[in-house]
């Protein structure tokens, strides 16, 4: 689904990312781990064409991301708060995203029903603008919005940070279900090795912009990752 070839990104003369090759097949749940500044967000920003690669190219379902906008209909993401529109209420925001993805208002309402528990009564019908919600609730709204319109590729940066334990568990279930039952390609990054190994079939560890580990998940994965980061 996603092919990364010779991608590199430098700011001035400092290289922050260099990935010779990475292929993510359709339906895979892909986890990206790394310390602060390892290049996780840089990679995701490149995938979304938010920054220009210094070299190489990324294709999303055969569409070269930096040359065409055609990958947008099946790709969605939540990277940070700048993906929220602060002056809208959660509903208005969901409807707006729905409009963009060709999902009608009633369909969005229907789509939101199973998330009621996930929202814990703090998102919908709150008469509050998104900018006035707590960080955690903003994140919930952003993640759910990224699921609207049956995207085939979902990119989530640090989805577990700022969430309460209950929501973390629910989110993990949800992501697993999406990748297993609906063949959605999910890319998530995290600092939390436990969560990532829980959710993802494949985990890649990056350090200083380069891939150091690329593991299919087994029972030993968590140990191996812990050993890698311990040194």
């Amino acid at each position: 689904m996603i092919t990364i070839e010779n991608i590199s990104k430098s700011y001035k003369d400092v290289q922050v990312l260099n990935i010779p090759e990475l292929r993510i097949p359709k339906g895979q749940s892909f986890g990206l781990v790394g310390n602060n500044g390892a290049g996780k967000t840089t990679l995701f920003s490149l995938l979304l064409d938010l920054i220009e690669p210094t070299s190489g190219q990324i294709t999303n379902n055969e569409v070269p991301v930096h040359k065409s906008e055609d990958w947008k209909p099946w790709t969605s993401a939540f990277i940070d708060e700048s993906f929220l529109i602060g002056y809208l209420t959660a509903e208005e925001y969901f409807y707006f995203i729905g409009d963009l993805r060709g999902v009608s208002k009633t369909e969005v309402d229907k789509f939101l029903v199973p998330f009621e528990e996930f929202f814990h009564g703090e998102i919908l019908n709150q008469k509050k603008y998104l900018r006035d919600l707590s960080k955690g609730n903003q994140k919930k709204a952003g993640i759910v919005a990224a699921l609207i319109g049956k995207p085939e590729v979902i990119i989530l940066d640090e989805p577990f940070a700022n969430l309460d334990p209950t929501t973390q568990i629910k989110l993990k279930k949800l992501l697993k279900q999406l990748s297993e039952e609906e063949q959605v390609t999910i890319l998530i990054s995290s600092h939390d090795l436990m969560h990532v190994t829980d959710v993802c079939e494949r985990i890649v560890a990056i350090e200083k912009g380069e891939i150091h580990k690329d593991l299919e998940k087994t029972d030993a994965t968590l140990k191996e990752l812990e050993a890698f980061f311990e040194r």
């Binding site: 938010l50 209909p73 969605s76 993906f83 529109i85 002056y87 208005e92 603008y129 319109g149």
Partner: protein, 489 residues
């Protein structure tokens, strides 16, 4: 302690991104500042003689007193829109061993150092000098000067009280309207009332005590307010706005651009900054009065073209100039969601055009000055829609200064989103209409000039698709730079 605060303040100022503006902008700002200051000084110095000349039968000071109430109201209105209670980053100070009252006094004291308080000083001090020179009592004038300055300082604090509540503002606005109507029909002579209230500040020196008491009162109100709110859920915490949800279904007829239009409507309605801009745009409507009421311009038809452009182009100039910055807070979303640039730009274009159309409807009363005048305004509107809208959008592609939607612009900081390229791109907006009007006008008269102006606009509308494509390409080219610039805060 105060020295420490000042040090923090200085660092905040000198390290802010505002300050990183180019040298040219800094010079321009200093120039503007000096220009307005000079105006104030000259007005203050000349006031006595101007009034003496215009209304020889009245004592200029009585004249001033009779209009003083209006000055107060105008000053309040201006402050309401442009001045905000200075916010110090007190959150980190809250858990440090610093006495609360010191911080609050400092915060309120700091608000005095504002251009809005300097202005009265620049105006009234020269005026007082001239009064003394013209053998008014020295002591009386000085006491009067103190009173006036204390009143202006009180306005500074009254503004912060008003600022917390829109109803205060609208009641004052209503009061002004009522007062002007009552004054016009001579139901109540506000000038007389004003004179009898404010002239004693000069004539009876003991009255100086009243403004001083007022100042103490409003300062105390502010002090108590801030002091009591000095907690995380008070002043420091974000205010939660009351939500008004409207479906805005009537916009659905615009098809694919409807979701963006809805968004833009909400953006303008729910954020402080765009509202401020909208308010400024309304002022542009009155710009024509400037030209059409003066005999000086009566025989200079070509100048009125400016008026035509400005009267209907207020929204285009004030709002349009900041496209895409309005979406800077969530630009990454816009760039990664399923949004073609084309629709995004189209929605902005429609918005700008609606601004022009609404303005041309609202300017129908200009027919009072003759249908010719209104024809000029309409031609200006067509030009704005067909030409200036595109120029503005094109200029936006080079505009990379983020805007914080829910923060008021401060006076002299309203250059967010302003840069030299912006200025150069803005030039054709003014020059082009003059050219396309002037040449046919010179040879064939007014009608030809208007046809030239409106015709260029219509041509632009006809060529909309290729022009939009060009603009779209320019935006696409600058995409990464814009995203990077907008994510800097």
């Amino acid at each position: 302690m105060v020295a420490k605060f000042l040090q923090l303040e200085w660092k905040q100022f000198s390290r802010s991104s505002y300050f990183a503006k180019s040298l040219g902008i800094k010079i321009l700002m200093i120039f503007l500042f000096l220009y307005f200051s000079a105006i104030a000084v000259v007005m203050g110095g000349g006031f006595y003689y101007i009034v003496k000349d215009a209304v020889p039968e009245q004592d200029p000071l009585v004249f001033l007193s009779s209009y003083f109430i209006f000055w107060i109201l105008a000053d309040l209105a201006i402050r309401f829109f442009w001045q905000q209670l200075p916010v110090m980053n007190i959150k980190p100070l809250m858990i440090l061993p610093i006495q609360k009252n010191k911080v609050v006094h400092y915060l309120l004291g700091k608000s005095i150092f504002s251009f809005f308080n300097l202005y009265p000083l620049l105006f009234f001090v020269p005026l007082a000098g001239v009064l003394i020179y013209n053998s008014y009592g020295v002591l009386s004038v000085l006491v009067w000067l103190v009173s006036v300055l204390v009143i202006s300082l009180s306005l500074n604090f009254i503004n912060f009280i008003i600022n917390k509540n829109n109803t205060y503002f609208y009641s004052i606005l209503g009061l002004i309207a009522l007062a002007s109507v009552a004054n016009y029909y001579q139901l109540i002579d506000f000038n007389a009332v004003s004179a009898s209230v404010f002239y004693p500040l000069y004539a009876q020196q003991w009255t100086v005590i009243l403004p001083v008491l007022l100042l103490i009162l409003v300062y105390t109100i502010n002090y108590t307010y801030v002091f009591n709110q000095f907690s995380l859920d008070g002043v420091v915490g974000k205010k939660t706005a009351k939500v008004e949800t409207k479906e805005l279904n009537f916009l659905n007829r615009f098809g694919a651009t409807a979701p963006f239009l809805k968004n833009d409507f909400r953006m303008v309605w729910r954020n402080v900054r765009p509202k401020q801009v909208l308010f400024t745009a309304v002022f542009f409507l009155f710009y024509g009065l400037f030209f059409f009421t003066q005999d000086f311009y009566a025989d200079k038809e070509w100048v009125t073209v400016f008026a035509g452009i400005f009267v209907t182009g207020g929204f285009l100039i004030t709002f349009g100039a900041y496209v895409p910055s309005w979406d800077s807070e969530y630009y990454k979303l816009m760039m990664s969601q399923n949004i073609p640039y084309k629709q995004y730009l189209e929605s902005k274009w429609l918005l700008i055009c609606s601004g022009c159309i609404i303005a041309s409807v609202l300017s129908i009363p200009y027919i009072y000055f003759g249908t010719k005048i209104y024809a000029i305004i309409l031609a200006g509107a067509i030009f704005n829609i067909g030409m200036n809208s595109f120029i503005t959008l094109y200029g936006g592609a080079l505009n990379r200064v983020p805007i914080q939607l829910n923060v008021k612009a401060k006076a002299f900081e309203n250059t967010q989103g302003f840069n030299l390229t912006q200025f150069l791109i803005g030039l054709p907006k003014m020059l082009l209409p003059i050219i396309v009007f002037l040449i046919p006008y010179y040879f064939f008269g007014l009608k030809a000039g208007l046809i030239g102006l409106a015709g260029t606009g219509i041509l632009g509308i006809l060529l909309k698709n290729p022009i939009m494509k060009l603009i779209e390409k320019t935006y696409q080219k600058g995409k990464y730079k814009t995203i990077a610039a907008f994510s800097e805060k």
